[in-house]
Symmetry: C2
Subunit: 409 residues, 2 copies
């Protein structure tokens, strides 16, 4: 039972798929309060100036700067108080030469004034007059109109994923309905005669479906909507029917592939039959995860992930998550990594990228990566790990004491 | 209008609050599929052995290892085929001396067998017999019962936040309903005569409510359930009534405090009146964010966050997020940081921690942190940043070219 793998690199595998898929066009308009982590369907520009009026950044007195030039402790400037700026309303008075108006942080500058003297540098002479002991420049302690954002400025590009501060930024300019990309629907189909639902009683020889749960959670993290399509037995006709039905209403299909060679063989032909261009990659230069299948049925990506949980998670991160980002029109991002010091030697074979689960530990301010060795069939290998260390293609291993980049789960 | 701040360090501020609050006892039992990022309300142990039977990790033949000892290309071992193990069922036959059974990856070892020879090291002589050209040891290519997890093993401690692989690990042992800590309810009350809802028309002098959106999103990220309680005017009686009502059904209260000194003064007395022990910290040695108020009403944390958006986000990350983790019984975690090279000098004052927003940029494989200078009143300062660089308490700044840790948003 020989296998004909044409093993390709991670970059080549992603490039082949990328040539066949494109960002989805479905979009929806949702309330700003629900938009955290959603991806913008279009570039947004500011409809207004923020702030819309000159605002004081301090508590103090709005003045004409020229009236304070040369002021000092020994030779203060004397100004008469012409009013107090109300919060939340436009002052109805004007600050004339030799005048000052009490103002609070965030208050609107009265007309005539061009700067604010901090309260710390003033002193009341009587309820109607102050002395100022330091000069201010025009614009000092003031946010001018549009300094935060000007009307017409680009706020965010299409494809931007919204963070907490971004929601604040949109609220600030009054955008409370946001056009976002609809979450890609990801059909997940487990396969294998031995696989039963997680809530079933298991008989000898049966195992519970682990990967549907793991993959569904990874889909959510990547911005997709998981659609669980059950467990197909090792019967090509039934698998074929279930795969077709799963793909029908989905934007992307993940087959959690049967683990034996014969199952993989007919998985390939079933994926081929879902539509052109079919299988693009069968075998990637990674370990674990080598027997990953990457395909497209029309513009819809189809993945055959290895059945064992560790390989499935690694292959998801390398191939499925980037495809999901691309379907959402989000830019490619570097995976989030932290630097740590490896505590044990890791052996690898040149010509493939090895991924080794590690547990992070901080001692005396230094972050250490402790390899968690375990068969890739064991889900608890990953449960006990905080991230993955990658051994590059051209190395035969990494030595204890080396600095490594750890991609976090 | 002098202020009497008793400024304390971040660690001291958190320690003072920690002395008064405790993990919440409300919990709920939820379906495993909804448990991503939820926090376990109790320690979980495995009800079963995983796997429950010895499983093959390869395609090949289940054998008695002793029958292969000494086998080689030139002197193979000859074994007769006594059956094929079905997937998903217990084999009904026994492997006797001199016998071998066809087995697939994930299949259950038949009784009598103790190891699996990979198919690559076998050859059919005829449909009833094979030769084996390499010996195997007892247990080779087999996952024994309970190797992944043994019955009674601790799977996760109380307070663990569930990741994708953890859901898989629970599915694997048949735990499909998970006891999690109820999300802490976080009441958010904005204040200020000048603040109007984000969807309102703004008149001159008014600004839209930015912080309720930002804080609600940060609460979600920290595992809490935001409850928006509106905007209180700068009227002590109304603010007092609204704060009391907000706290009534909440586990934690965040006041997005008015920005002027006088507002802060009565905010303090209103917080004091919510219940003992009252205000624990008023003023923290950070910039921006110094006027943060930290209090407790009974066991419920109460925060007065500075009104400007940048200070509010920084203070949230330093104080509110850790309090939310503590309420959920989750362990303290280091904030997630990446290492980068600072591109510009940053000035700071010794005696306070400075936080400077930075934009990250990768050039030739090196990550650079470009400071985004901007007034802390400007929300788009943060929108344009990817994270924060901290200048420690005892430094007067950081030089361009220094390695820095960037806490990501």
């Amino acid at each position: 039972m020989p296998e004909l793998f044409q093993v390709v690199t991670v970059a080549e595998a992603n490039a082949r798929l990328r040539a066949h898929i494109a960002p989805l066009s479905h979009r929806e308009l949702i309330p700003l309060h629900d938009a955290l982590d959603r991806v913008l369907a279009e570039e947004l520009r500011s409809p207004v100036d923020l702030p819309a009026f000159p605002r004081s950044t301090v508590d103090g007195f709005a003045v004409r700067a020229a009236d304070t030039y040369g002021a000092s402790e020994s030779l203060p400037a004397y100004l008469t108080i012409c009013g107090e700026t109300p919060m939340g309303r436009a002052p109805k008075f004007t600050v004339g030469p030799g005048q000052a108006a009490l103002i609070h942080t965030g208050g609107m500058l009265p007309s005539g004034s061009d700067s604010v003297v901090m309260v710390e540098y003033t002193q009341y002479l009587d309820p109607t007059a102050i002395e100022v002991v330091r000069p201010v420049a025009v614009g000092e302690n003031v946010i001018p109109v549009g300094e935060d954002v000007a009307r017409g400025d680009v706020l965010f590009p299409r494809g931007h994923r919204l963070r907490p501060q971004d929601l604040g930024g949109l609220a600030g300019v009054g955008i409370v309905q946001v056009p976002v990309v609809a979450r890609p629907r990801v059909a997940i189909l487990a396969t294998g005669d031995e696989v039963v639902p997680a809530d079933a009683e298991v008989a000898p020889g049966q195992v519970r479906d682990i990967n549907s749960y793991t993959i569904a959670a990874l889909v959510r993290r990547a911005g997709g909507e998981p659609v669980l399509c059950g467990i197909a037995p090792d019967d090509p006709a039934i698998l074929d029917r279930m795969a077709r039905s799963a793909l029908e209403s989905a934007d992307l299909l993940v087959l959690s592939a049967g683990s034996s060679v014969s199952t993989r063989d007919y998985t390939v032909s079933i994926i081929e039959s879902l539509g052109a261009p079919g299988v693009l990659v069968h075998g990637v230069a990674i370990h674990p995860g080598k027997p990953t299948i990457i395909a497209a049925a029309g513009k819809r990506p189809v993945f055959g992930l290895p059945g064992n949980p560790v390989s499935a998670i690694i292959a998801f991160g390398l191939f499925v998550a980037p495809a999901l980002r691309h379907l959402q029109g989000a830019p490619e991002t570097d995976p989030l990594t932290v630097q740590a010091v490896l505590t044990l030697n890791i052996a690898s074979k040149p010509g493939r990228e090895d991924f080794v689960p590690v547990r992070l530990e901080r001692r005396d301010g230094v972050l250490y990566a402790n390899p968690v060795f375990g068969k890739s069939n064991l889900i608890y290998t990953l449960v006990h790990a905080d991230g993955l260390v990658r051994v590059p293609l051209d190395l035969s291993g990494l030595y204890a004491g080396s600095p490594v980049e750890v991609t976090l789960f």
